[in-house]
């Protein structure tokens, strides 16, 4: 059994300093412009001390908690994919050489991307976010090709997980088996406890790197009652969770309902704004942009996040495979909850609820799946006959 350690909250800065000593650039939650984002922070005072967030469909608000908790909020609109799978990556630059061209990378080695490789320590990774990282590990290594930009960053990262001691209004990690407590996938995991006994963290090390870090931070072995306090908080969080999703046979359900009339219903609300895909910690679609300088002699290729909700996403000569918003919402949800399982052996959803909070019209993936189950049947749109083609065939 893993041993549980205890750090006093006032020692939290030593964790920051120790990580810095080990050469890590620390990224963690911090308050900015009315929300909690993930960015470079220097010390524990950069954390959202005393803040929490209220989340519901299409609503997010920061609020004072009335205590000095460091991790008393639920989830940031940001996710760690921003750092492991950056929104924009320069793949290469190229220069014309006579009629030909040459690909350049600063390292002179094509397999090493041009971007400098940061040595990140993530502080405050929620259990559902650890699950998201595990999912992206599979996405970016499809057994034929590897996204080396992701791989190189992931290999170096140090993960400080923080278990959840309250449930957000849109959370459903219990259904997705991804929280509120992380069992593995971290270097160390903290559970923050504030009670009569004080303000402290129960710590579990999950790797050699984690053990090494803990040897630098003053700690004690946690007492049984302290461990139980921490466990109780996590259990309460699980019970608090209002939302749930029935994942039994969900792939079969969605594959059987590709023509459900409910897609028509979602389409009347969905703005195809792509917010859900931007905040989703597992969405991985990208596009490439090729550009030149003014002389036309130097070119670059950039990879950037894309979304299956954009109009151009499925465009080919002669049209767009998914021009209607119902087809695009169906693609997103069916991919996330069903075809992802065929592709990567896991659901693409971790139950973080970001897509619900940040949907401007409050579309709730847990409610939509229930309605698909209730309604079934074929939608109007999908009953529509391909009259033009049928006529052409008949003509012969």
């Amino acid at each position: 059994m893993k041993s549980h350690l205890k750090i006093e909250s006032r020692q939290l800065n030593i964790l920051f300093d120790s990580l810095k000593d080990l050469g890590y650039t620390i990224v963690g939650p911090t308050v900015r412009e009315g929300s909690i984002v993930y960015d470079n922070i220097d010390s524990a005072s950069g954390l959202p001390v005393g803040w929490t967030d209220e989340q519901s469909a299409a609503a997010y608000k920061l609020k004072r908690r009335g205590d000095n908790s460091y991790f008393g909020y639920n989830l940031s609109p940001y996710s760690w994919k921003r750092f492991l799978f950056p929104p924009r990556v320069k793949l290469f630059s190229a220069a014309k050489k006579g009629k030909s061209f040459k690909i350049n990378s600063d390292s002179g080695n094509a397999s090493v991307p041009i971007m400098s490789l940061p040595n990140y320590a993530f502080i405050g990774v929620r259990p559902c976010e650890i699950q998201a990282i595990k999912i992206q590990d599979k996405v970016f290594n499809n057994w034929q090709y590897i996204d080396t930009v992701y791989k190189n960053r992931k290999e170096k990262v140090f993960i400080v997980a923080v278990n959840c001691t309250q449930a957000g209004g849109t959370c459903f990690c219990v259904s997705m088996n991804s929280g509120p407590k992380a069992d593995n996938g971290f270097d160390i995991a903290l559970t923050e406890v504030i009670d009569k006994g004080g303000h402290y963290f129960i710590v579990e090390a999950g790797s050699e790197k984690g053990n090494e870090l803990m040897s630098k931070i003053p700690h004690t072995v946690a007492g049984q009652s302290e461990i139980e306090n921490a466990n109780r908080l996590v259990q309460t969080t699980a019970r608090q969770m209002n939302k749930s999703m029935d994942t039994k046979d969900i792939k079969e359900l969605l594959y059987a309902n590709l023509e459900s009339r409910h897609w028509d219903d979602v389409a009347t609300r969905c703005l195809t704004c792509a917010n859900c895909t931007m905040v989703c910690p597992t969405c991985f679609c990208t596009t490439v942009e090729d550009v030149t300088d003014l002389t036309g002699e130097n070119a670059e290729r950039w990879k950037r996040w894309d979304s299956c909700f954009t109009m151009d996403f499925a465009r080919v000569f002669g049209g767009n495979f998914r021009s209607s918003s119902r087809a695009r919402y169906r693609q997103w949800m069916t991919h996330k909850l069903a075809s992802w399982i065929d592709q990567f052996g896991t659901s693409g959803c971790v139950g973080c609820g970001r897509c619900i909070t940040w949907c401007p019209v409050g579309i709730d993936i847990t409610e939509e799946i229930e309605k698909i189950k209730e309604k079934g049947g074929k939608g109007e749109y999908f009953n529509h006959k391909d009259t033009k083609v049928t006529k052409e065939i008949k003509k012969d």
Binding site: L91, F92, A94, K99, S100, F101, I103, A110, S111, P113, V139, N142, W143, Q144, Y145, I146, D147, T148, K151, Y255, L258, E259, F284, C285, T286, T287, V288, D290, V291, T292, G296, A299, K303, D306, C308, D312, F313, A314, R315, V316, F317, G318, F321, R322, R326, A327, R330, Q331, A338, S339, D342, Q343, Y381, F382, D386, V389, E392, I393, K395, D396
Partner: protein, 280 residues
């Protein structure tokens, strides 16, 4: 497949244009000599390359040449967008970028000992030409060959000289049909499925390979199925928007399949559940 292939798969290599052949008013073939670091460029019939116009962008183009010819890698290109328009202005000696080959291929091995029925529409003939070359290079290994080919008009027919040549070969049936024409056209008029009434398939022993617009493939599948060709003997090649070619960008998904790496060629049972649905 090489599981160590990383982001360098996104780096195009220079490829010199050896020849430009205009097939129709808006479709041309570039014969390319890839700078493959001295090693031969190997591909299977049905695979595609990502061709790069310097600073403009890329286009996924099927390889349309004989796989045994390692020096002239042919790409038949329909001029439709910014990248293909740039390609259409190039001449012998110009250089473009090439990365690939990507995707799987047609079942040329599985088709050995069998009849092969190829049904294509428009530029869909291009990715099947390497199949025909492979068959003709090993002619004894295959049974009867049927090529059913539909085009918009007589002027849109690709590889006209070769079509005539293939049509005269023993045990090869070439049937061509056009959507519209003037009175000078003496051939068939209509959709490609009409051509099935002019051939006799030994359905149990036939491998069918289809490439064309999705709607044309749908009706061809119906026709083949009605005639008794089992679904596992029917193969199609799909087209989707592709940005990476290596299953990472997500654009080419059709149901659970990444068309770029799981396809573009699929046996019908692999994909039929999704193919039938609109806007998948």
């Amino acid at each position: 497949m090489n599981s160590n292939v990383g982001i360098d798969s996104m780096f195009p290599l220079p490829a010199q244009i050896r020849k430009v052949v205009w097939e129709t008013e808006d479709t041309f073939t570039l014969l390319l000599e890839p700078d493959n670091g001295g090693s031969d460029f190997h591909f299977s019939p049905g695979q595609f390359n990502m061709l790069y116009a310097f600073g403009i962008g890329e286009s996924a183009i099927s390889i349309s040449s004989d796989p045994s010819n390692k020096d002239n890698i042919a790409h038949t290109i329909h001029r439709v967008g910014s990248v293909t328009s740039v390609f259409s202005q190039l001449e012998k000696g110009d250089v473009i970028g090439l990365r690939g080959p990507f995707g799987n291929g047609w079942p040329v091995e599985k088709a050995k000992g069998k009849d092969v029925c190829i049904v294509t529409g428009g530029i869909g003939l291009a990715p099947l030409r390497p199949v025909l070359y492979s068959i003709f290079n090993n002619r004894k290994e295959y049974g009867k060959i049927f090529l059913l080919y539909g085009a918009r008009s007589p002027l849109d027919l690709l590889y006209r000289v070769e079509l005539e040549k293939w049509g005269k070969m023993k045990d090869v049936t070439v049937q061509v049909i056009v959507d519209r024409c003037d009175t000078s056209w003496k051939g068939h008029i209509g959709v490609v499925t009409k051509l099935f009434s002019y051939i006799k398939l030994n359905t149990a022993n036939t491998i069918a390979m289809i490439c064309g617009p999705e709607i044309m493939m749908k009706f061809t599948i119906q026709e083949l199925s009605q005639r008794g060709v089992p679904p596992e003997q029917i193969y199609i090649s799909m087209e989707r928007n592709m940005k990476c070619g290596i299953g990472l960008c997500g654009h080419c998904q059709c149901g659970p399949k990444f068309v770029c790496k799981d396809g573009p060629v699929f046996a019908l049972p692999q994909i039929s559940q999704f193919l039938e649905k609109k806007e998948i």
